[in-house]
Amino acid sequence: TFHSTIFQEKQYVGFATLPNQVHRKSVKKGFDFTLMVAGESGMGKSTLVNSLFLTDLYKDRKLLNAEERINQTVEIIKHTVDIEEKGVKLKLTIVDTPGFGDAVNNNECWKPITDYIDQQFEQYFRDESGLNRKNIQDNRVHCCLYFIPPFGHGCMKALHEKVNIIPLIAKADCLTPNEIKKLKDRIREEIDKFGIKVYQFPECDSDEDEEFKQLDKELKECTPFAVIGSNTVVEARGQRVRGRLYPWGIVEVENQSHCDFVKLRNMLIRSHMHDLKDVTCDVHYENYRAQCIQEMTSKLTQDNRMESPIPILSTPDVETEKLIKMKDEELKRMQEMLNKMQQQMHDKDQ
C-alpha cells in the first residue's frame, strides 16, 4: 500500500466533526465504572464514597460490633446505582470489602479480594471469547481506593498487579500538616522500597496550558492523598458546606488547605476516570488473560510463538529426533564400509 501525509489548508472536508460524533455516541451509550474500597472498618470509607458522589449509598447499613468481628471473614458487597449529570449517565458500582483487616488474624485477608477481581476478569474473558458478544457487561474493577492503616502498607502488594490502586490516608483531620507530610513521605518511601505499583498518573500533554500543567504537577506531588469525608452539611464562613463540626473549629471537606479531598475527587472523577478504565482494560486485564491462556496451554507450548487458542502443529518431538539421528549414523557407517570395500577392489585390480 501507498502511504503519504497531506496537510489540509483551507477547504472544508468535514471530518473535524469526528470528536463530536464520538461525544454524541458515548453520551447515548452511557458509561459505567466500578470502584472498590478497601480498608479496615471505621476508617471512613463509606463516608468518603458518599462525599465523593454527593449521595447516600449506604442507607440501610448494619454495622457489626467488636465481638462479631473477631473471626470476621472478608465479604464482598456490591452496590450499583444509576446517576446522571447534565445528560451523562453513569452506572456506578461500589465494591465494599467489609471485614478486611478486622479479624484478629489478618494473614490472608486479601485473598477474597483478589479472588473477586480475578472472577470478574474471568467472566469478562469468557464473555469476550464467546460467539455472541452483543451484550457484554463490564464488571471489572477499575480502581481500588486503598485506605492505608496507620501502621504500614498493609497488603497493597497482593493487589498491585490486578487493579489500579490509589492509596489514601484516611481521617486526615487527626493529623497536623507536618505529621501528614511526614506520613506521606514515609509511605512513599515504603511504596518505593517494596516495589508496590500504585496507579500512575499519565503525563500531561505538552501543549496544555500552564495552569493545567501546574495542577498536574501539584497532583502528583501530593500523593498519597490525605482525605476527610462527611455525611453532614454545616455552616462555615457564611456558606453551607460538607464538614465536621468540632469544638475547636470546622473541618471543611472541600477546603484544599484542610485536606486533599478535592484533588482526589478531581482526579478520580473529573479527569482520570476514563484513563483508569483504559489501564484496567489494556494492562491488568490483558495480563490476566495472557496468563490464563498460557496456563491452559503450557504443556503444549514449546516456544513463545504460539498465537492462537488452537495450537498449531509444532516441531516433531524429541524422541523422534533421536531415532532419526541414530538411523542416520548407521547409514553413514554402512556407506563408509562400502567405500572401503570398493577401494580395496580397485587396488586389487591395479
Binding site: T5, F15, H23, S26, D82, Q200, H274
Partner: protein, 445 residues
C-alpha cells in the same frame, strides 16, 4: 505488560476545577438498567466530563477510516475521492484490459483542525472489464475477509495490543452505479448481494451530470425498488439518536445519491468553485440543486462516520467472527446446551490436538521405519554383491598366483637344469683345456 507513561497523555477536560459552579441537584431520568436504582445527587460531582475525557483520548490517538470504492473503470471513483477529501491522491488511469479484478489500497494521513485521520482508500481495478464477470465479486469479498481475519488474529493472540492496532477493516463501501437511466446492471445486483452482509454499502449514481432531473427521479426509484425486491441490505443512516434522526431520515429518502466529482475549479460569480465546464453550462459540485455531492459528504463524513465504524465493528465483524469460530469448532454451549466454560473448551481442543499429534507421529514413524527397512535391504544387497565379487576376485587372484607359481617352478627348473648344463659344459671345457695343454707340452718336448 505495562503502559509506558509517555504513551498515555491526559487532557484536562474543559470544565474542571469547579467551573461548573455549585449547583442544583440533578436526578436520574428513569431506570437505565434493570434492577439498578437511580439516585439523586446533592451537587455537582463532575462525571459529566466523561465524554470529554473519552474524546480527548480519541483525539490524542487519532482516527482511522477505510473506504472501498467499487465501480467500472473510468466511472469516476478516484475523482470523487479527491473531491470529497480535497486532495490530489496520486492516481493514474487504469487500463481497460485487466484480466482479473484487483484491488489497490492507498493510505493517507489527513489533518483538519486538531483532528488527525488515517484514511485508506481501496479502489477496484478492472471491475466490469472482463467478458465473464461471474467471479468479479470474489477479489472484493476476499479483501474484506482478509481485513477481518487480520483483526481476528490479533484478538486471538496471547499478547495482544488492540488499543494500538491499526484497523484496516472496510468501514464503508461506495458502489458506483452507471448512469444508464434504466436500472441496475446484473453485475451490480450480484456484487451487492455478496457484499451486503460484510460491509456497509452506500450506492451512488456516478456521473450524474448526464441524467436530467426527471430521469434521475425515476432512476432512483427503480434502483431502490430493485434493491428491495432482491433483498439487498444497503446501509441506512441511523435513526436511534434524536439529535440526528431527523436529518438522517430525510437523507435516507434521497438514496442513492447522484454525485458529480471534480477537482477543477471554475469561476462562478466572484468565487472559484469545484465544477465541470460544458458548452451549455457549468455543473457545480457543491450546488445541491445540481447533484447530491454535499448530501453525500454530510452523511458519510460529517454525521455518520463514527456510526459506520461502529457498525463495521459490532455488526459485520462480529458476524464474520462468529462464522469463523463456528467453523473452527468452537461452541458456546455443549451438547446438553449448557454454557461451556472456557476451560472445558480448551481442554477439549487440547485433547483433540494431542490425539491428532499422536496419529501423525505414528504415521511418520511408520513411514520412516519402512524407508529405513528399504534402504537397509538395498544396502544389504549391495553388500552381498560386493562380497561375491570380492570372492570371485580372490579366486581369480589365487588362480593367477598358482599359475605364476607354476611358471616360477618351471623357470626354476629351467634355471637349475641350465645351471647343471652350464656346469657340465664348463667341466668339459676345463677338461678339454687340460687335455690340450698336455698335448702342447708333449710336442714341445
Amino acid at each position: 505488560l505495562s503502559l509506558d507513561n509517555d504513551r498515555r497523555t491526559i487532557h484536562y477536560p474543559l470544565h474542571m476545577g469547579g467551573r461548573g459552579g455549585p449547583s442544583q441537584g440533578y436526578s436520574a431520568g428513569g431506570p437505565h438498567y434493570k434492577g439498578v436504582r437511580p439516585l439523586s445527587l446533592a451537587g455537582h460531582v463532575g462525571f459529566d466530563s466523561l465524554p470529554d475525557q473519552l474524546v480527548n483520548k480519541s483525539i490524542c490517538q487519532g482516527f482511522c477510516f477505510n473506504i472501498l470504492c467499487i465501480g467500472e473503470t473510468g466511472i469516476g471513483k478516484s475523482t470523487l475521492m479527491d473531491t470529497l477529501f480535497n486532495t490530489n491522491f496520486e492516481n493514474f488511469e487504469s487500463s481497460h484490459f485487466e484480466p482479473q479484478v484487483k484491488l489497490r489500497a492507498q493510505t493517507y494521513d489527513l489533518h483538519e483542525s486538531n483532528v488527525r485521520l488515517r484514511l485508506t482508500v481501496v479502489n477496484t481495478v478492472g471491475f466490469g472489464d472482463q467478458m465473464n464477470k461471474q467471479e468479479s465479486y470474489q477479489p472484493v469479498v476476499d479483501y474484506i475477509d482478509r481485513q477481518f481475519e487480520s483483526f481476528l488474529q490479533e484478538e486471538l493472540k496471547i499478547k495482544r495490543s488492540l488499543h494500538n492496532y491499526h484497523d484496516s477493516r472496510v468501514h464503508a463501501c461506495l458502489y458506483f452505479i452507471s448512469p444508464s437511466g434504466h436500472s441496475l446492471k446484473s453485475l451490480d445486483l450480484v456484487t451487492m448481494k455478496k457484499l451486503d452482509s460484510k460491509v456497509n454499502i452506500i450506492p451512488v449514481i456516478a456521473k450524474a451530470d448526464t441524467i436530467s432531473k426527471s430521469e434521475l427521479h425515476k432512476f432512483k426509484i427503480k434502483i431502490m425498488s430493485e434493491l428491495v425486491s432482491n433483498g439487498v441490505q444497503i446501509y441506512q443512516f441511523p435513526l436511534d439518536d434524536e439529535t440526528v434522526a431527523k436529518v438522517n431520515t430525510a437523507m435516507n429518502g434521497h438514496l442513492p445519491f447522484a454525485v458529480v466529482g471534480s477537482t477543477e475549479e471554475v469561476s462562478v460569480g466572484n468565487k472559484m468553485v469545484k465544477a465541470r465546464q460544458y458548452p451549455w453550462g457549468v455543473v457545480q459540485v457543491e450546488n445541491e440543486s445540481h447533484c447530491d455531492f454535499v448530501k453525500l459528504r454530510e452523511m458519510l463524513i460529517c454525521i455518520n462516520m463514527e456510526d459506520l465504524r461502529e457498525q463495521t465493528h459490532t455488526h459485520h465483524y462480529e458476524l464474520y467472527r462468529r462464522c469463523k469460530l463456528e467453523e473452527m469448532g468452537f461452541q458456546d454451549t455443549d451438547p446438553e446446551c449448557k454454557p461451556v466454560s472456557l476451560q472445558q473448551t480448551y481442554e477439549a481442543k487440547r485433547q483433540e490436538f494431542l490425539v491428532e499429534l499422536q496419529k501423525r507421529e505414528d504415521e511418520m514413524r511408520q513411514m520412516f521405519v519402512q524407508r529405513v527397512k528399504l534402504k537397509e535391504s538395498e544396502l544389504k544387497e549391495d553388500e552381498r554383491e560386493l562380497q561375491s565379487r570380492f570372492e570371485q576376485l580372490k579366486r581369480l587372484h589365487a588362480d593367477e598366483k598358482s599359475a605364476l607359481e607354476e611358471k616360477k617352478r618351471l623357470l626354476d627348473e629351467d634355471q637349475s637344469s641350465f645351471g647343471k648344463r652350464r656346469a657340465a659344459a664348463q667341466l668339459l671345457q676345463a677338461q678339454s683345456l687340460t687335455a690340450n695343454g698336455k698335448k702342447d707340452k708333449d710336442r714341445k718336448k
